[in-house]
Amino acid sequence: MTPALKPVEELRWVASAVLQALAERGKGKGDTFTAADLLAWVPALSAGAKRTNATTRLVGLGLLTYRQGFDADTADLQGTYTVTAAGAEAIQAAKAGKAHKSGPKRPHGNRPQSASAFSTQLWRLVRARRLLDAKEAAETLVDAGDDVKKAEQHASKLFRRWELTGHLAASKQRVHRVGTSNGHKRYVLINDCGPMPPQSPSKKTA
């Protein structure tokens, strides 16, 4: 059962209201209607630019198509809206009581990287040096007295990630071996993707 439309002052989600009105009238793929029809079905849309906002949004989402027409009797311009296949699905969803909401329709990608982030600075250093290890990178990018060890671990992690994405290759020779330490892997730049560091594949989209 289609939920009842709200009064004028409460009608905020206009696109949703249009879909509900179309559902009530059993509209489906290929059915047409005009702006005047819509205003007759949902009088609340006559307030301000609500009708225009609603149809523009639905056309933008690909749920309706718009075609400019001409009324021979009155000599007025008369536009016609046609329900698309996606629009028919949205009308069915509205009929089932599912509101059409704005917002992202798919998972977000990776966040944009800051120019001053450690990863960005490390990538710039890799591009300048072509061959680098985590210890040397941390010693160049972090001041003595700051947490160089943490930066070293962070650099190692990023190097491994960039190796997996195919931008770096690990050299066979390890460096900075002291005592029982295995030292550090050296990485060689093999695929320069430009000034910004490589993005690791997003977990949500992978």
Binding site: A115, T120, Q121, L122, R124, L125, R127, A128, R129, K135, A138, E139, T140, L141, V142, D143, A144, G145, D146, D147, V148, K149, E152, V178, D192, C193, G194, P195
Partner: protein, 255 residues
């Protein structure tokens, strides 16, 4: 020795020069020469500066041709390298003109040989865009550039990388000298006389100063010193010594 970068006076000088040149009067005078003797940390400072600032950084090579220079610049900016020289240069100019990101060229001595054609390539870019280009070279690099008046007139500033001051050596000792390489290793204090001795023996060069600190740390570890005084290191060579008979000189001429 504790790990990490030490911000010396040269590093501050470089940053000050950048601010000064950014306010220059003639926009076409966008070249900045950074010169210094070996071992003062030119390349390390430049790399840190480039990584921090995000400027376009390339290292000139002996094998450079005009095309190789343009290709490397295009690579560094993430541009396509296809087409003729003029097309690649056009792309570089367009990119620099939009982003206005300065260019840093390390080992810039390789840009001047019997002709200055490689420098001319860079001059074209800075002339058109009004962007800064930092040329990092050895101590005689400014003299090489001075041979070409039209390029020399576009040099906004020559930044001198001096040998380390005693203050720099003191800052380095305070930041790095320790009894171990771990970040929480206890610091190894040194007398002012020791700092002066390091400064004297390393001739103001960072590379040698770091070796000297490492040597002193080794002796302190072996002898259980908690603080280093001048008496502890008296008569010892702190840095690598190059002594003996000069090559090509007969024994009786060496006194």
């Amino acid at each position: 020795m504790k790990p990490g970068f030490v911000q010396t006076e040269n590093f501050r000088r470089l940053k000050d020069a950048e601010k000064l040149v950014a306010r220059r009067g003639a926009s076409e005078a966008g070249l900045v020469i950074v010169r210094g003797v070996f071992g003062v940390g030119k390349s390390k400072l430049t790399e840190r500066w480039a990584a921090e600032s995000g400027y376009v950084f390339i290292r000139a090579k002996e094998t450079y041709t005009k095309r190789a220079l343009l290709d490397e610049l295009a690579d560094a900016m993430g541009l396509a390298k296809g087409g003729r020289n003029i097309e690649v240069q056009g792309r570089i100019i367009a990119k620099v003109g939009v982003d206005m990101v300065p260019i840093i060229v390390d080992e810039a001595d390789h840009l001047v040989r019997s002709t200055a054609s490689l420098l001319e390539v860079l001059r074209d870019i800075t002339d058109v865009t009004g962007c800064m280009c930092f040329l990092v070279g050895m101590e005689h690099f400014p003299m090489k550039v001075a041979r070409y008046g039209h390029i020399a007139s576009r040099v906004a500033k020559v930044v001198e990388f001096e040998t380390l001051s005693i203050g720099d050596i003191r800052a380095t000792v305070n930041a790095k000298a320790s009894l171990g390489s771990e970040p929480n290793a206890p610091a190894l204090p040194m007398d002012e006389d020791v700092v002066a001795e390091i400064h004297k023996q390393c001739s103001g060069r960072m590379r040698l100063a770091l070796n000297a600190i490492a040597n002193i740390e080794g002796w302190a570890h072996a002898n259980g010193w908690k603080k280093v005084t001048l008496a502890d290191i008296k008569g010892k060579a702190l840095c690598t010594e190059f002594s003996g008979k000069p090559l090509g000189v007969s024994a009786n001429r060496v006194k």
